[in-house]
Symmetry: C2
Subunit: 405 residues, 2 copies
Amino acid sequence: MGTLSETILGAQAGSFSDKRIDKAFCHDGTGVQAKVIYDEMGAPGIANPKACYVIYDHIAPANTSQTADLHRELREFAIRSGMHFSDVGGGICHQYMAEGRVLPGEVVIGADSHSCTLGAFGAFATGVGASDMAGIWVSGETWLRVPESVAIHISGSLVKGVEYKDLALAYVTELGMDGATYQALEFLGDSVSSIPMEGRLTLSNMAVEAGAKTGLWYADTVTREYLARFGQSCTDQEVKPEATYSKEIHIGLDDIEPMLAVPHRVDTVKPVSALAGTRLDQVFIGTCTNGRYEDLSRAAAILDGKQVAVRTIVTPASRADYLKAEKSGVMGTLVEAGCVICPPGCGPCLGAHMGVLGEGEVGLSTANRNFKNRMGVGASYYLSSPSTAAASALTGEIADPREVV
Amino acid sequence: MGTLSETILGAQAGSFSDKRIDKAFCHDGTGVQAKVIYDEMGAPGIANPKACYVIYDHIAPANTSQTADLHRELREFAIRSGMHFSDVGGGICHQYMAEGRVLPGEVVIGADSHSCTLGAFGAFATGVGASDMAGIWVSGETWLRVPESVAIHISGSLVKGVEYKDLALAYVTELGMDGATYQALEFLGDSVSSIPMEGRLTLSNMAVEAGAKTGLWYADTVTREYLARFGQSCTDQEVKPEATYSKEIHIGLDDIEPMLAVPHRVDTVKPVSALAGTRLDQVFIGTCTNGRYEDLSRAAAILDGKQVAVRTIVTPASRADYLKAEKSGVMGTLVEAGCVICPPGCGPCLGAHMGVLGEGEVGLSTANRNFKNRMGVGASYYLSSPSTAAASALTGEIADPREVV
């Protein structure tokens, strides 16, 4: 006993724990489903509405009248129940929750697979399905099997043009897509204190791509300073010497180069340099993995004063990210370069609107999944960092960002 | 003989004229259909590709793989044929053409009903269906019955909080939705020289809502100064004393108050004051009628430092409008007020994505049409100016902008 999961959940790996949920969130997709199950349960009331968040991001604004009908029903339910509600354009649930709404040590459950993102705050944050979310609405609790943990030791520092997304693709590949199933990742090592919150969020976001329940960072100065911007305070979490890991991997940041997950698996990665020149139909910069202000800012630095050669969709992760990009001139640079700015939310990531690909088209995306047909039936796409995406947008072909930064 | 239509088309009202087309444009909706007809004709080649424009605005970016497939096919055809091509995010066809691409005296045909918008430049601009567009691609020409003309004499000046959109709703109501069928409107009178190009575009845009082929303005100093911004020059067009009109109406701008077209007809108008307090589910500011920089700017002035009380979708008419709103801080004001900014294009206007309404929902839109089920099955919505839309967004109820400006 001694991993961060064990400490937060208060029980040893392998045991089962009933936990009161500090924050429970869902989006328009899973929320609608959870509401159906809640109604089937006889609508018994919400145990702790102030811990519950409903955040519209997946198909928001509505793409059809049917979607709008479902939106209205869930919107009215959430507001009437006293839950927190974020309407269309507020941003992606994971980023919205990351803006001062999750604190270290909390148990955070999201009805979305990438809820592991919030492990970046040292919270035990993981995803469940809609029926579990309905259960949490009613009881305020859920049960969890306390996971074993995988340690990812990070040393060194990134070279120019390489991003934490490249590290994320590297660790997913090293572990494999089921290499950490029902385990928690812990990011450790000499370099963690130098990794900013946006990098931590990107790295935690992809934990589930290796099968992990969550990706955890011990709260530290970076966490404290980030949360202070939202008027929140916290104390540091300490790595305990007695913590034991089922697996330990070591990654030197200096060894990481720009990476691409190739169609149609996240854990099948090649260096960008090996695929340079591959023709693209669309570039997409956004998502809960890489739609934050810092991501847009890095892309803008590459696109500044130039023109994209292929249609390039940019979707800020949240209204706050949009506004920051607005005020700082990043958005202006992106628009002048010919990018198409879509409203905060998931954008085309789930293949429902705002840039779905067609049969045979090839896309490059900063998202976390490139599963077959996800972002367009018969399309294929690569996953990369925002820098690689921006460099590639300039030529309409996969390009190495180290050659343009 | 002497109306602007007769002068441009070189023949008397009622006669038929074969005309070489100076500019022919279509969008992703009608372009796809025109391509089908063109192929059925045996794909005989494009007579004058440099006069042809294909502009993606209706469902752009693509909402489904099927849309993306159609986009790709038309995109490749347009580029291969040597036509001008504007991809997703460039803006609405009418606004794109209005940015220095249409000159006084030209014959301009668009495969969209609101192609009458470009009459604002003293061009004979009107809409056709997709099969006519395919014919123009092949022949470079079309035939037109030279229309009779209706004179709209404008005097006085608008009071604060009232916009040219309110005048547009007023004249459509005065004429009725078939009051000018197959005629041309001519905007005349003491006040025309003081009406800026954005106002003229709004007024011409709605000509078809009274059944008119086009809405014409004689090129003058306003036209010359506007076109000079795009590096274009032109000479003034003169109203000829021998021009005769089938009908003449007189409107005093001082008498116009904020207006609303009520569900489900454009020509059924009530004063905003009579409907103040009507609850709204959504406000939409954008479209070829009112998505220009000046429209967004007026909305921003009302929303500055405040928060919208209802979801508010803003869709700039073109990339240039977006960028201008960006650089001037208008966009930042709108985002801070809680608006959801969608990419340049038609937005939810045609009910295909980005803010479709649900059953029973009530919307307020700055568009030109509120036909039943258009922007959402079972929804109803009102049409207004951007100022009325912004004032109403602040309370979530229809509100008179004169009380907040």
